[in-house]
Structure formats: structure tokens, C-alpha cells
């Protein structure tokens, strides 16, 4: 192809694409982490250990699932949550078990937090009949309706209005529950978000809308796809808002608890930006030229799991071997899950026609 022509007019902001003026855009700036201790936050030592176990489970589950994917054990997309585990964990501990949660396709961590076993999760990735969605959904559609985890969704922004619907139902039924919706920075650019924020504020819905801003929408840095500070979107809707350090479990827990209490008490929505970082590529085939290795390492240095571990050890809340025991237990749980998934049967062919309608013998056009 011919040499590049000089162009004056530009539309999209430039990142790495311009060899002269371009540069890798920084993902996110983290706000300060909370300096509260677990006692200040009302967290018991048992809870801390449970949180550690939960985060470690998410991490190892995904590291193992990646291996299995690379071995060719299953196909489709695989979007890993690694690096963002403090958000799912902090939030599920801050909310009541009766509160609703919904998220996008980066959903494994959320599923594990809300009662999907490592076995059922891994089997879902493998497309097996024993999977949490019986092999029908795969990686992007973990769900556990019993535990009010309403699923992962694959159309960017598509699930945001649905969360308003959960809040509507909770207000309608006056059951005191609230609903929380999680989506990426990329979803902020969808019209669905803006229609929903207006509705939620107008109708005083008990809902939390959370952007997990991990700095990138696929290969596009946040500054290249969206204007201004994401959290400031709330202002236009007169909505309460917050920015949270998503690399720190305590920060997520503290703020999400405050917010949940406020939503429950006043039946008013919140718009929250939690800043975080995904360690892996967008899905499994991403050369990641849009960011630097140094940037990635910067975040890995403040890894949320390591941070909690350090806290536990430094404050003598747990001994090294106690944590090791938890890690070993999780490791075994995940290995068992892989074996379980591998050995589980595929769904029977007739299941293709199941779950389309509520009737036992519905009409299908042929």
C-alpha cells in the first residue's frame, strides 16, 4: 500500500495508530484506597478469610479454564475477569443475599460469588449437561437464578435496562431488595445506559449501576472511546455517584455497603465507577498492542488478592500455613472441577429443543 497521506481532519482521538504523535493511552487513574481496617468496616476475621478464599477461587478457576481452552477442551469466547476480583467479592459481601445482581459477559467471577460451584461453572465452559446453564450458555451466560444472579449477557449494554426492571419489581413488591448491574467502560457509550439512568432517576428506582472501568474496551483505551470522566455522567441525571478503587477489596466493600444502605433506605439509584484493570487480553485472541507491559505490571504489583494476603499476614489475622491451606483447598476444588467437566456428558440432542418455551411440548416451526 502507498505511503500515508497527511490528513488534517480527525475524528476519533488518536492512540497508538499514529506513529508520530500517537502513544499508548493509560488505562485508568485509581482513586485512593480506603485506610479503614477490617474492624472499622465491621468485617470479622472469618469473613476476611472467606473473602480471600472467594477471590482466590475466582483467580484459579479462570487460570485453569484458560489452560483448558488452550488445550482445545472447549470453544467460543473466554473473557477472563482476572485482576477485577475485588469488585465481585467486595460487592457480594456488601449486598444482601436477596439483592439482585446482573453483569455482562465477563461473568465467571460473579457466578462463583453467587453460588455457582467450580464444577458447574467449569462444566458450563465445557458445554456439558452438568453446567450451570446446562451447556446452553457457555462462558458468557453463567447464571444462578436461585441465588439471584440473573446472568451474564453478551450484547454490550443490553442488560442495563434489565437491571432497572429488577429495581422496578423490587419497588413494586416493596420487598426491601435492591439490584446492582455491572458493565464495562465500553458500555457507557451505549444509548441504553442513558435511557435507563433517566428512567431510574425519574421513577426513583432502588438500583445501582456500576461501570467496571478497566481502562479498555477491547483494544480501545477509555480516553479514546468516551469523553470526560465516566462518573460525571451521573450529574446530567441528578444521580448520586461515586468513584471507587477497584484494586482494593476494602474500598469496594466499604463504599458498596454505604451505597447499598442508601439505596435501600431512600429508593434512589446510584451511578458508580469502579476503576480496575484486566490482566489478560479482551478474550483469548488479543495481541494487546494497545497497552504496555509496564502498565500491566504496575497493576499486578497492587494485585487485590496479594494485597489482602499481605493485610492478613501483617496484622497477624492468619498464619502463612493457614492461607496455604486455603489455597491448596481451592486448588483441589478447581482441579476436581476440571475433571468433573471433562468427564461429564454432553447434553442429549433432544435438549436442543428444551428451554425455548415453558410448555412441555411447544410448537416449533419446520
Amino acid at each position: 500500500m502507498a505511503k500515508k497521506k497527511k490528513e488534517e481532519i480527525r475524528f476519533a482521538p488518536t492512540g497508538i495508530g499514529d506513529v508520530n504523535e500517537g502513544a499508548v493511552q493509560k488505562g485508568v487513574d485509581l482513586p485512593d484506597a480506603t485506610d479503614k481496617t477490617h474492624k472499622d468496616l465491621g468485617l470479622s476475621e472469618e469473613q476476611l478469610l472467606a473473602m480471600f478464599e472467594q477471590m482466590y477461587l475466582q483467580r484459579r478457576f479462570e487460570e485453569r479454564s484458560m489452560q483448558q481452552y488452550q488445550k482445545g477442551k472447549f470453544g467460543g469466547f473466554l473473557h477472563l475477569y482476572i485482576g477485577q476480583e475485588a469488585i465481585s467479592t467486595g460487592t457480594t459481601f456488601a449486598l444482601d443475599d436477596e439483592d439482585d445482581i446482573i453483569t455482562a459477559y465477563r461473568d465467571h467471577g460473579w457466578g462463583l460469588c453467587r453460588g455457582i460451584s467450580a464444577k458447574a461453572g467449569m462444566a458450563e465452559l465445557f458445554g456439558k449437561a452438568t453446567g450451570s446453564s446446562r451447556g446452553k450458555g457457555g462462558s458468557m451466560h453463567f447464571a444462578n437464578a436461585e441465588k439471584k444472579f440473573w446472568g451474564g449477557y453478551g450484547i454490550v449494554g443490553g442488560h442495563i435496562p434489565i437491571n432497572a426492571g429488577f429495581a422496578f419489581a423490587n419497588k413494586y413488591n416493596a420487598n426491601g431488595n435492591i439490584s446492582a448491574c455491572f458493565f464495562g467502560d465500553g458500555a457507557v457509550d451505549q444509548g441504553a445506559l442513558h435511557e435507563t439512568l433517566n428512567l431510574a432517576q425519574l421513577w426513583k428506582l432502588p438500583a445501582i449501576f456500576v461501570v467496571e472501568n478497566n481502562g479498555y474496551s477491547m483494544g480501545t483505551a477509555a480516553a479514546r472511546h468516551t469523553v470526560a470522566e465516566i462518573v460525571d455522567r451521573a450529574k446530567g441525571y441528578n444521580m448520586k455517584s461515586a468513584v471507587i478503587n477497584g484494586m482494593d477489596l476494602f474500598s469496594v466493600y466499604e463504599k458498596m455497603k454505604e451505597i447499598a444502605d442508601d439505596v435501600r433506605e431512600n429508593s434512589e439509584p446510584w451511578f458508580v465507577e469502579i476503576r480496575t484493570y484486566r490482566y489478560r487480553g479482551h478474550s483469548m485472541s488479543d495481541p494487546q498492542k494497545y497497552r504496555t507491559k509496564e502498565e500491566l505490571e504496575e497493576y499486578q504489583k497492587i494485585d487485590p488478592i496479594q494485597r489482602l494476603k499481605t493485610y492478613l499476614l501483617e496484622n497477624e489475622l492468619a498464619k502463612e500455613d493457614q492461607l496455604k491451606e486455603i489455597e491448596d483447598k481451592v486448588e483441589q476444588e478447581v482441579l476436581d472441577a476440571v475433571e468433573f467437566a471433562d468427564e461429564s456428558p454432553f447434553p442429549e440432542e433432544k435438549e436442543l429443543y428444551e428451554d425455548m418455551f415453558v410448555e412441555d411440548d411447544p410448537y416449533f416451526h419446520v
Binding site: G17, G76, G127, G138, G154, D189, G219, T220, Y290, E349
Partner: protein
């Protein structure tokens, strides 16, 4: 003739048309700096710069509509959707605006725009990423719909689409981007919209298949040939306008027809062609027309269910056996 990948053929078409006409520009998610989610636009940013190769936010409704407006004001946008499964969000702009503005204004305003990207399933991506939309768009007056099966057709038809003064839907497939094929290197190689092609001659049965299904039909035909059954495969290439005369001519010769369509059965292209055949060639048929489609069921994730869901050469063979009374 040059041997090119599907994605390269598309890129050459876009490149040649951008080179030829300053008004042509391309936008979509990851088309510029990332060089395209499926590398169709690779190198175009370097060549044409940031003004004409533009990354968009994930705002399908917004950028499709922006494209419509730019087209109404004389530019010639190529709007890339990462897949047509996401173009559902832009349906209002395509269906309510692009297709209707000329008519509503009594012919005052043209809307020369191409909406392109992969259509239908790309393997185990689950229910929301696997729908075939060509028949749906063909339903609406005011749209031309193209879904080619081979690199050569893709290049010639995409160039026509970009030059067309109407809104055009141009569909591809993630699973075909790497597929190689002969592409004419005649200068300004163009294939007119609305012209199908007989891609395999045969006297026993007419098989109509386009897009990804063309390749399923070819596999079936190769298998059947070993059994002495010769399929005539017609690739309509363009869904709308449909090259009906080509199909009817073939049926007059073979007297039998199987339609292969990667859509659900209700109201799909197979349904439409089936109706047209009975209207135009009723007296020539020796057997009822059969079709091979997706079942009336969402795409499952599980490999086992997916394989049962997706139209297979085996199903085409069964249908051919049925219309030739070999079963």
C-alpha cells in the same frame, strides 16, 4: 486471477473505492488502530489516515445514524458492524431512516450507504451472536442485501455496493474471512448487484445456497456425485434483488430443488424462494421443494448441540434424496 483470502478481497474492494472516491470513508468498532476486529481493514488507516478510517465507540445506533446523515449530505459511508448481531441496536436507523428517507421526501434525498460486517453464526458463540439477518433486512423495502460466499464475488459485489446510490446491506462471515479463492485482477472488477451464478452444473437437482451455506452445499454435492447424483448449485449472491430467472431456468432443467439457508425457517429466504418457485415453475416440478435451514430454536453453546443445530451436508444430502425419491 489472484488467490486471495476473503478478508483481503474485501479490503481491496474498500481500498480501491476509497482511492477512487474521496467521499468514501469507513467507520466502526476497532476498524482503525486495531486494524479491524477481523483484520478486514488492515493497513487502511496507514494509507488513508484518521479522517477516513475511523474508530467508533460501542454506539451502534449512534454511528449507524451518523452514517445515514453523512450519506444524506453527500458522503458515502461504509459502516462496519463487528457483526450484524450487534446491528440490531442500529435497526432503527437502518430500517426507519436509511430505507425510508428518499421515499418520504418525495425523492429529494438519497442515502448512499453500505452497512457491512459478518452475519449469522461464527461457531459456539451462543444465542445472541449467531443469528442470520439477511432475510430480515430483505423484508424491508428500500434495501439491497448481498451475502456472497467466495472472495471473488465479495470483491466485485462490495465495489458495486459502495458505488450504489441506495442503502446496501453487505454480509460476510467470521468463518469465511480466512477462506481463499480466485479474485479477478481485471482493473475495476465489478459484479452487478442482483446477479446470481451457477457455480456447479448438474442435471438432477437444483440446490440454491448462498453465503456460508454455499460451502455446505458444495460438500453435499461432492458426496452425492460419488453416488451418481449431479447437483446444480446456484449461488444467488444477492438476496435482494433476487436472481429468480436463473433459479427458474435451472429448475426447468432439473425439475427438483433443495434450498439451503442459514436462517430459521419461518419467513426466511428459503420460504420466499419456495413460494416463487411454485408460482413460476409449478408445472416443472417433479417433487415438492425441500429446504435445509436452522431449526426454530436459538443457538446453543454446547458443541454437541451446536453441531445438531447447524445445517450440515448430511441434511442437504437427505433433502436431495427426498426430492429425487431415493429414500
Amino acid at each position: 486471477m489472484a488467490e486471495l483470502q476473503f478478508r483481503e478481497a474485501l479490503k481491496h474492494a474498500i481500498d480501491e473505492e476509497m482511492d477512487r472516491d474521496e467521499r468514501v470513508f469507513i467507520m466502526g468498532e476497532e476498524v482503525a488502530e486495531y486494524n479491524g476486529a477481523y483484520k478486514v481493514t488492515e493497513g487502511l488507516l496507514d494509507k488513508y489516515g484518521f479522517k477516513r478510517v475511523i474508530d467508533t465507540p460501542i454506539s451502534e445506533l449512534g454511528f449507524a445514524g451518523l452514517g445515514v446523515g453523512a450519506a444524506m449530505r453527500g458522503l458515502r459511508p461504509i459502516v462496519e458492524f463487528m457483526t450484524f448481531n450487534f446491528a440490531v441496536l442500529a435497526a432503527d436507523q437502518i430500517i426507519n431512516h436509511a430505507t425510508k428517507v428518499k421515499y418520504m421526501t418525495g425523492g429529494q434525498i438519497d442515502c448512499p450507504i453500505v452497512f457491512r460486517g459478518p452475519n449469522a453464526s461464527a461457531g459456539q458463540l451462543g444465542a445472541t451472536h449467531s443469528v442470520s439477518y439477511d432475510s430480515m433486512y430483505a423484508h424491508f423495502p428500500g434495501l439491497k442485501v448481498i451475502y456472497p460466499s467466495e472472495p471473488g464475488d465479495a470483491k466485485g459485489l462490495l465495489k458495486s455496493a459502495i458505488r450504489d446510490d441506495n442503502p446496501v446491506i453487505f454480509m460476510e462471515s467470521e468463518q469465511m474471512y480466512g477462506m481463499k479463492g480466485e479474485v479477478s485482477d481485471a482493473e475495476d472488477f465489478i459484479i452487478p448487484i442482483g446477479k446470481g451464478k451457477i457455480k456447479r452444473e448438474g442435471s438432477d437437482v437444483t440446490v440454491v445456497a448462498h453465503g456460508k451455506m454455499y460451502h455446505v452445499a458444495v460438500q453435499a454435492a461432492n458426496q452425492l456425485a460419488k453416488d451418481g447424483i449431479e447437483c446444480e448449485i446456484i449461488d444467488p449472491r444477492t438476496v435482494k434483488p433476487l436472481d429468480l430467472p436463473l433459479i427458474i431456468e435451472s429448475i426447468k432443467k432439473t425439475n427438483r430443488c433443495v434450498l439451503v439457508d442459514e436462517a430459521h425457517p419461518f419467513g426466511g429466504l428459503a420460504a420466499e424462494i419456495g413460494f416463487l418457485i411454485q408460482r413460476e415453475a409449478f408445472d416443472y416440478l417433479d417433487a415438492p421443494v425441500q429446504r435445509v435451514c436452522l431449526p426454530d430454536v436459538n443457538a446453543p453453546f454446547s458443541k454437541k448441540l451446536f453441531d445438531a443445530w447447524f445445517p450440515s451436508p448430511k441434511q442437504v444430502i437427505d433433502a436431495v434424496n427426498q426430492v429425487t425419491y431415493r429414500t
